[in-house]
Amino acid sequence: MSDREVRSPEERARRLIMASIDGELSGGERGELERLLDEHPALRVEWARFQRVKEVTEAMALRPAPEEVWSDYWASVYSRLERGIGWILFSLGAIVLLSYGAWTGVRELIADATMPWFMKVSLLALTVGTVVLLVSVVREKAFVGRRQRYKDVER
């Protein structure tokens, strides 16, 4: 039980109890724990309780997966890798085509002399708004996310 800086005697006792039931006590620590258990009967009760918990969990095991899972495992991972590339290409193609279609449509509508002016302004606002939102999302994903200092801090 090395590298175990302890802040309080209670914490020391808890760690000795854990190490004891997990079979990770050194010779010196075994003596220290025995002394503590002799001096504090409540600790001995706690130690026995943890020992019973250990016995119960020790008798359990994770349920094994069906054998066929392993033969298909790599193939499934490989499909995911391919699908990832597929989605990137699909998204790029869709963005270019949709943008071109939208641009062509808007250009024709604006050039249409029969269309009221407020419709043209609304269309322009809609187009500019969409572009701003799209650029903002892409910038956040590609730039801000990478520089986010606390993105790996887990709650």
Partner: protein, 194 residues
């Protein structure tokens, strides 16, 4: 002899990681085959469902490959992979939709190792053990994720404190404290059957 084997295995893993880092999918496939069981069971212990553990562990490998530029051949590959597995699992558990589905369909992911033998000789004792197993499983599922993780690594993966500390990047003392709290909570939950 054992040390030589470990060194040989480390050297071969380093070579595989280097090749995978360069985009060699076959080398990455070998790493997947080497660690798929460990990744799956790590995820199973955290999320408690076969399908989800399979999906999350496979997704972890896919993400590890996509971010292969971050792979360090001098560090154990599993340590890198495990960080992805646990993050995916924790996010999965925190997802409110997941919580709803999990409450509706609890599946057994733990088993009593002596259960099969007992079933043949003593059905009553076997039923008792199955009941205890279900209670332990439910109690573990109610543990906070960090405590559950340390307990699973210790009890079901059989890692030593030092190995858990290295894998999680935390001091050994923290491993022991989390284990203490986890077991204290389990003891309280299993009060009637201990």
């Amino acid at each position: 002899m054992e040390i030589a084997l470990v060194e040989q295995s480390e050297a071969s893993e380093r070579a595989l990681v280097q090749r995978a880092r360069a985009g060699d999918r076959r080398a990455f496939g070998e790493l997947v085959t080497r660690y798929m069981r460990r990744a799956y069971y790590a995820a199973l212990g955290l999320v408690g469902s076969h399908e989800d553990a399979l999906d999350l562990s496979q997704e972890a490998f896919a993400r590890a490959y996509r971010a292969r530029a971050n792979l360090d051949p001098d560090l154990p590959f599993y340590g890198y992979l495990y960080q992805i597995v646990r993050r995916l699992c924790f996010n999965f558990l925190r997802d409110s939709r997941t919580r709803r589905v999990r409450m509706e369909e609890a599946t057994p992911w733990l088993m009593n190792q002596a259960g099969a033998k007992a079933a043949a000789t003593d059905p009553a004792r076997s039923a008792e053990r199955s009941e205890l197993c279900a209670l332990v499983q439910a109690a573990i599922e109610r543990l906070p994720e960090r405590e559950r993780e340390v307990l699973v690594l210790k009890e079901f993966e059989g890692l030593r404190y030092r190995e858990i500390a290295e894998l999680l990047g935390i001091p050994i003392g923290t491993v022991m404290s989390r284990l203490y709290t986890a077991r204290r909570n389990l003891a309280a939950e299993l009060e009637g059957v201990l």
